[in-house]
Amino acid sequence: MIPLFVFAIYLFLYVPIIVLVLFSFNSKSFPSPWDGFTLHWYKELFQSKDLWASFTTSLTVSILSTLLSLFMGVCFIYYISRRQKGESLVPLFYSNLIVPELVLAIGLVSYFSLFQVPLGFQTLLIAHTVLGLGFAIPILFVRYKELPPSLMEASLILGAGPTKTFFKITLPLLKPALLASGLLIFVISFDDFLFSYFCAGTSVETLSLYLISSIRFGISPVVNALSTILLFLTIPLALLFFSSKKGTEVF
């Protein structure tokens, strides 16, 4: 039923993950083959303070940047719902996908150093929100254009003012797109490496920075344990993303 070639691709995708998860339970660190089951690495994982510090930093940055991007996205869609000529401004946001992240990251770093802005939590939040806007506005706009205009007109003629119409009709109908783009921005911001590497400076450490320093140092099964947990945290998020019908169209 599923051709062998595709099965091979899935194997290619999942062998490293399986090996990774498997060896998070191996008692001895990797070089020796399977040695014995242990949860030792998970205990050590929960004791390592700075890992969870970086985890919470990443979490707060992603959540904040997602909320900020969505908030500004919704405001922008409100402006478009009130002034149709606003739609000509949407292409301004398409460039976020065209310009390579590296160029934007370097641009931001030099921009901050030019204005003596200290690199830290704020600069990282700014960088991630710029990224978020680049996703939020196009996705919300596509979904907004899909709504039949007669719905908004119906609400207006029934006595609701343009603002009330936006909150009672347009916004609820945008919810699936909000959920889809919100999740997407959260994941991209949480897993982002480039912006953390350049814009976070030395005072803030995100999960990616912690990972890169521990990987540069070498193998430690604690990272295996962390990966297993992160994998199982992603599954509900992906299920949520799938539940909103609009999910797959986002690409």
């Binding site: 039923m1 599923i2 691709i9 899935y10 995708l13 999942y14 490293p16 993950i17 090996v19 990774l20 060896f23 990797f30 070089p31 083959p33 405001c75 922008f76 409100y78 402006y79 009130r82 002034r83 606003g86 301004l92 946001f93 460039s95 065209i98 310009v99 390579p100 590296l102 160029v103 934007l104 370097i106 641009g107 030099s110 921009y111 150093s113 030019l114 700014i126 960088a127 929100t129 710029v130 680049g134 007109e153 343009p162 994941v187 897993d191 590497y197 350049f198 990972l211 890169i212 990987i215 990272v223 295996n224 962390l226 990966s227 992160l230 992603t234 992906a238 797959t248 169209e249 690409f251």
Partner: protein
């Protein structure tokens, strides 16, 4: 919905334009301008300033000194161009190989998936959504000398002593394909979703073989999606530097690695910026050429003019 702007020229609204009236009229712009301000302040301004600062020298304490071509002079050397070319090659090979793998994958999921369709797609999404450093880490386990792959090969005695996979360009390309596969698969998948299979039947009825159908009907219709997927992989792959550093034992130099070394050294930052601007420009030119290339390819495929 037509704009319900109160037309100024009509009689009822010729009262003197006081500030309050104007404030009310522009209120929606007020609400919406947050995103615009953010976009200008933190996207367009940095890029423009980056362009300017790559041509200027600053005093130590940051005040503007003079326009100079010095930064560029330091990087207009053959090695740096070869580095940029290397990055273009890396981007291109990654994009092509992900296309070779991604297309059949997307095709199978979309058209042959049946009941498992969302599950199969779900499996593609998971690696895409977890932190890619974990996957690099996972590949260490697989590729190293005593790694999983070598053990399997040894066990099936296809080889006598372990092959050297890690810290080679093979490992770099393997990891690039692994990381960028979902970027290529998902756009093609979403356009295959909308692809109506009757086109295939129609072409078959008209006597086209499976291959001809594929070449004349399926491929051209999906060309826009392939183009999106291609650039969704090509542009970021060009700027990739973590994968080559970790998987390639930092033996290779790509645009990303050059820039990350410069930017980190404060004194060398302007050179790094100049190099970013230079490579960004070349990337844009290359993307433009490739973009045109896909149209030419499309014309060749269909014989049409689009």
């Amino acid at each position: 919905m037509e704009t319900i702007l109160l037309p100024e020229n009509t009689s009822a609204y010729n009262r003197p334009k006081n500030f309050k009236r104007h404030l009310k009229k522009e209120a929606p712009f007020g609400v919406g301008s947050g995103a615009l301000v953010w976009q200008f302040l933190f996207f367009y301004a940095p890029l423009v300033l980056m362009l300017i600062s790559s041509f200027s020298r600053f005093h130590i304490d940051g005040t503007f000194e003079s326009f100079t071509f010095a930064h560029f002079k330091q990087i207009l050397k053959i090695d740096y161009f070869l580095v940029i070319f290397e990055s273009l090659k890396l981007g291109f090979t990654t994009a092509c190989s992900t296309l070779l793998l991604g297309f059949p994958l997307a095709y199978t999921i979309a058209l042959k998936g049946g009941r498992f369709k969302s599950f199969l797609l779900f499996l593609v999404i998971i690696p895409f959504w977890t932190n890619f450093l974990l996957h690099i880490y996972a590949w260490f386990f697989v590729l190293e000398k005593g790694g999983f792959l070598n053990q399997v090969l040894l066990w099936t005695n296809l080889i006598q002593e372990p092959i050297h996979f890690l810290n080679t360009s093979f490992a770099v390309h393997l990891m690039m394909v692994y990381y960028y596969l979902p970027f290529m698969t998902l756009p093609i998948y979403s356009s295959l979703e909308k692809f109506d299979p009757t086109l295939i039947e129609a072409s078959m009825d008209l006597g086209a073989t499976k291959f001809q159908t594929f070449r004349r009907v399926v491929l051209p219709v999906l060309m826009p999606a392939i183009r999106t997927g291609f650039f969704l992989v090509f542009i970021p792959a060009f700027g990739e530097f973590v994968i080559p550093e970790l998987m390639g034992g930092d033996k290779f130099m790509y645009v990303g690695s050059v820039v990350s070394q410069f930017i980190m050294g404060e004194k060398t930052a302007p050179i790094g910026i100049a190099f970013t601007v230079l490579s960004g420009g070349i990337l844009l030119a290359a993307s433009f050429l490739l973009y045109k290339g896909t149209f030419a390819l499309n014309r060749w495929l269909t014989g049409g003019h689009r």
